[in-house]
């Protein structure tokens, strides 16, 4: 018998019935009586001063109820780095100048979407175009145009990490290589675009906002800043969310302007972005330049590693500063690196800004470091899997001043991979190769840039007379399956069934704080809070059971299968349902409640726990067209105790899909700040026929910081997909890549370059 009755069992999604019948309501599906439709007028210039705005013609259009510009807004600036006010740089509508193509300058509310759209055409804006800057290397120059005043050379944030004696270690290294990389931007492309519905109550002065977000709490805080209101006068509700992937952490102009328009008109206002607005004005994975210097011993042991990163931040901060830091940390994992130095600078530029997209900084960095490691291994004549094994960390490993891996299954993961690869792919054909990448990722961030005074996560439980449990939390299911995980953890702790649990999630008015879904935090942080709340209720039930059974104080009780019974004598127990009734009777008719919370303490700079593993991809290259086929994927993953194997698999499959897209086809080419592919016609996402089958194996560990030993599941697996693929092509034909997006033409060029190099070498030998 397994230790758990619910945890670890494949469990269908608790939101399933709603989602397969069309009954699930997303913000985009919602309307309110008397509702108006809002639209934003956006800048066509990457950088320009606003000289004047004439809204009179738009105001006269029948059906238009409000037209606002920057001067009509409360004027509060906001950002996720709330603790550092100078980095709270977003605003509802541009006042003095626009900073990227798509910066909003005016907003309209009208009785129909069509009238709102027509009204935008009638607004006249007089701009004075300013010189603009689009690349970090240009942005950091002395004479570069300044995107924000007070930020010389457009330096938005810098990060420095250092441990050991890097320079001395390089001096002693047997082998050193330096590589420079250019990483392309990618868009998260959630299927549901950003959209919000705001309803301001004229009588009470309070505001309710429904929005497609990963964190109702962040939106509430940011709205309070933007609107200069008390946060308690703002209620944010997260309905079902059609995808997040890191692109829905920041509060965007949809919710803020819908709120302002609702306050102006006294009517509910809904703003829905078009897909091209989604691409051109919402947050993406940052493009960056990276330089890596790696020092090894002859046997492949890493002795020193140095990384420099310059990221193309864009017009505002978002979570870009955190991403910059995490790029410098995830790139070291899961390896023993005795001497390490990282410097990162994030520059403001006149493009839409980059942020914390799925994988949170790990994706570009790992692409560079893992392709570099393969080249080093080849030069030293070491097998690529072996060099990863040699350097992989052991449980308890600490990167000085940064992070500690408590549970850590990377070594067994690599061993398992070595065995499985031999079984699965005994023969490699011409133009095929196997590429590897080891990886690790956090389980929720310890950071508090949002400056919350509250616990990082909390949950409240109410047990009713009939034994049904109401679970309240602000935690956000954005599609990752957290609602299912939350119900499972609650049910396991109380020893009841999923059918007993009623979820009330993602509403700032109904629950205490949770910081939302980012950095793979909900399972551990919200899970701990829920477990804590449930444990309080369980204790009350045990107390009643002990009293009823008259048991000795020394005997332990367990709650399981809807009973509470003696651990050593399971036949002596009481029905959960009877206990609940007794408990409520004993409590003067008050339902049983528990309030749990979790905040990490003394867990380093990043996270309380890390998931990790290794990926292998078998790929084939067409030497004539440059086409790369990812044929087969193997992952061995240490994800602690898996809560829901179905959900964990789903997340892993999805991460690999997105990771392969990063490696193969997703990019955001721009010309003078204008995105050239702002529709799915031109922004390529892998389709079903492009996806290989994926085999996922687990190395279970027990994570002491997580609920039931759980830690992050699967977000770790987005970063390794692209480097595994690039390494597979490198193994297949020697072609080397110093940027992601292996479009056929790039691959063909790399193959030709390799052939030319080989020819030159053989000529020289003659």
């Amino acid at each position: 018998m397994s230790e758990y009755s619910i945890i670890g069992k494949p469990t269908p999604n608790v939101d399933g019935p709603a989602k397969v019948t069309g009954e699930a309501r997303y913000t985009i599906d919602m309307t309110l009586p008397h509702m108006l439709y809002g639209k934003l007028l956006r800048s066509p210039y990457p950088h320009a001063r606003i000289l004047s705005i004439d809204t009179s013609a738009a105001e006269k259009l029948p059906g238009v109820k409000a037209v606002i510009t920057g001067k009509d807004t409360p004027g509060g600036k906001w950002g996720l780095w709330r603790r550092f006010r100078e980095l709270s740089d977003q605003q509802a509508l541009a006042t003095d100048k626009v900073r990227f193509i798509g910066d909003p300058v005016a907003a309209v509310a009208a009785t129909t979407e069509e009238i709102a759209e027509r009204a935008l055409d009638l607004i006249e804006v007089d701009y004075e175009p300013l010189p603009a800057v689009f690349d970090p290397i240009e942005a950091i120059k002395d004479d570069a145009p300044m995107v924000h005043e007070d930020f010389p050379s457009n330096i938005n944030a810098t990060r420095h990490i250092e441990w050991g004696d890097v320079d001395a270690a390089f001096a002693k290294a047997d082998y050193i290589r330096e590589d420079r990389f250019v990483l392309e931007a990618a868009h998260p492309c959630a299927m549901e675009v950003h959209n919000s519905l705001a309803s301001y109550d004229k009588g009470t002065g309070r505001l309710t906002v429904w929005t497609s977000t990963g964190s109702p709490y962040f939106v509430q805080q940011n709205l309070a800043d933007a609107l200069k209101m008390r946060e308690g006068d703002i209620r944010v509700i997260k309905p079902h969310v059609g995808g997040h992937f890191g692109g829905k952490n920041s509060t965007m102009p949809d919710s803020v302007n819908a709120a302002i328009l609702s306050m102006k008109t006294g009517r509910p206002v809904k703003i829905v972005f078009n897909r091209d607005e989604e691409f051109t004005t919402t947050e993406h994975r940052t493009a960056q330049h990276m330089a890596l210097k790696l020092g090894l011993k002859k046997n492949g042991e890493i002795v020193a590693f140095e990384v420099k990163a310059m990221t193309n931040g864009g017009a505002y901060t978002g979570l870009g500063a955190t991403t910059l830091y995490l790029t410098g940390t995830f790139i070291t994992m899961p390896y023993k690196i005795p001497n390490y130095r990282y410097d990162g600078v994030r520059t403001y530029t006149n493009i839409v800004w980059g942020t914390s997209i799925r994988g949170f900084g790990s994706v570009p960095g790992k692409y560079c470091s893992e392709t570099q490691l393969d080249r080093a291994a080849k030069d030293l004549g070491i097998d690529p899997l072996e060099i990863r094994r040699i350097n992989a960390v052991a449980p308890g490993y600490t990167a000085p001043g940064q992070y500690t891996f408590e549970s850590c299954g990377i070594q067994p993961c690599i061993e398992k991979m070595a065995v499985r690869v031999k079984e699965k792919w005994p023969k490699i054909e011409q133009d095929e190769g196997i590429g590897y990448c080891a990886f690790a990722y956090m389980t929720g961030g310890i950071f508090n840039w949002i400056d919350t005074p509250y616990a990082y996560s909390s949950a409240h439980i109410k047990v009713n007379w009939d034994g049904t449990v109401d679970l309240y939390s602000q935690a956000a299911d954005v599609g990752q399956g957290h609602n299912t995980v939350a119900a499972m953890i609650c049910a396991e702790e109380l020893g009841i069934g999923l059918d007993d649990i009623r979820l009330h999630m993602g509403d700032t008015a109904h629950a205490y704080t949770d910081l939302g879904a980012w950095g793979s935090r909900e399972t551990l942080m919200n899970g701990n809070a829920i477990k804590d709340a449930a444990a309080q209720v369980k204790q009350k039930l045990i107390d009643i059971a002990r009293m009823k059974l008259g048991e000795n104080i020394a005997y332990d009780f367990v709650a399981r299968d809807k009973r509470v019974f003696l651990e050593l004598r399971p036949e002596r127990g009481v029905s959960y349902y009877d206990l609940v009734k007794d408990a409520i009777r004993h409590n003067d008719g008050v339902p049983l409640t528990g309030t749990g919370h979790y905040t990490p303490h003394n867990k380093g700079m990043i996270s309380p726990a890390y998931a990790m593993g290794i990926m292998a991809i078998k790929a084939k290259v067409d030497r004539e067209t440059g086409h790369v086929t990812a044929q087969d994927v193997l992952v061995v993953h240490d994800s602690g105790q898996i809560i829901n194997p179905l959900g964990a698999r789903g997340q892993t499959e999805g991460c690999i899909h997105m990771g392969l897209g990063y490696g193969l086809c997703e990019e955001m080419p721009m010309d003078q700040g204008m995105l050239l592919n702002p529709e799915f016609v031109d922004y390529k996402i892998l389709r079903t026929r492009d996806m290989p089958e994926i085999e996922i194996m687990h190395v279970p560990t027990y994570e002491p910081n997580g609920p039931f030993g759980a830690k992050e599941a699967a977000e770790a697996t987005i970063a390794p997909a692209a480097p595994s693929l690039a390494n597979a092509i490198y193994q297949a034909c020697g072609a080397e890549f110093f940027s992601n997006v292996l479009k056929p033409e790039k691959v063909l060029k790399a193959i030709r370059a390799k052939e030319a190099q080989n020819n030159a070498t053989s000529q020289a030998k003659k």
């Binding site: 550092f84 002395d142 010389p152 050379s153 420095h160 210097k293």
Partner: protein, 75 residues
């Protein structure tokens, strides 16, 4: 062993290089402005640090801090 205090705030470090690291990690105007009085540019120091391998930006600032940082007694 002597310790050194940041000329602009209360941060105390035992090494000049560490103090330089602290200094360039600050994004407020006050810290940036003082660099100008020393003939240094915040942007240039960051640029030196991030565009070339090594610790060039910090080392340059550490040299200045060696002269300018306030020495704090051990006790």
């Amino acid at each position: 062993m002597p310790k050194y205090r940041c000329p602009m705030c209360r941060k105390i470090c035992s090494e000049h290089l560490d103090l330089a690291r602290h200094y360039l990690g600050q994004t407020d105007k006050k810290h940036k402005e003082w660099l100008k009085t020393q003939g240094l540019s915040y942007a240039e120091l960051i640029k030196a640090q991030v565009t070339e391998f090594g610790n060039k930006g910090y080392e340059a600032l550490a040299e200045v801090l060696k002269k300018e940082a306030v020495v704090v007694d051990e006790g």
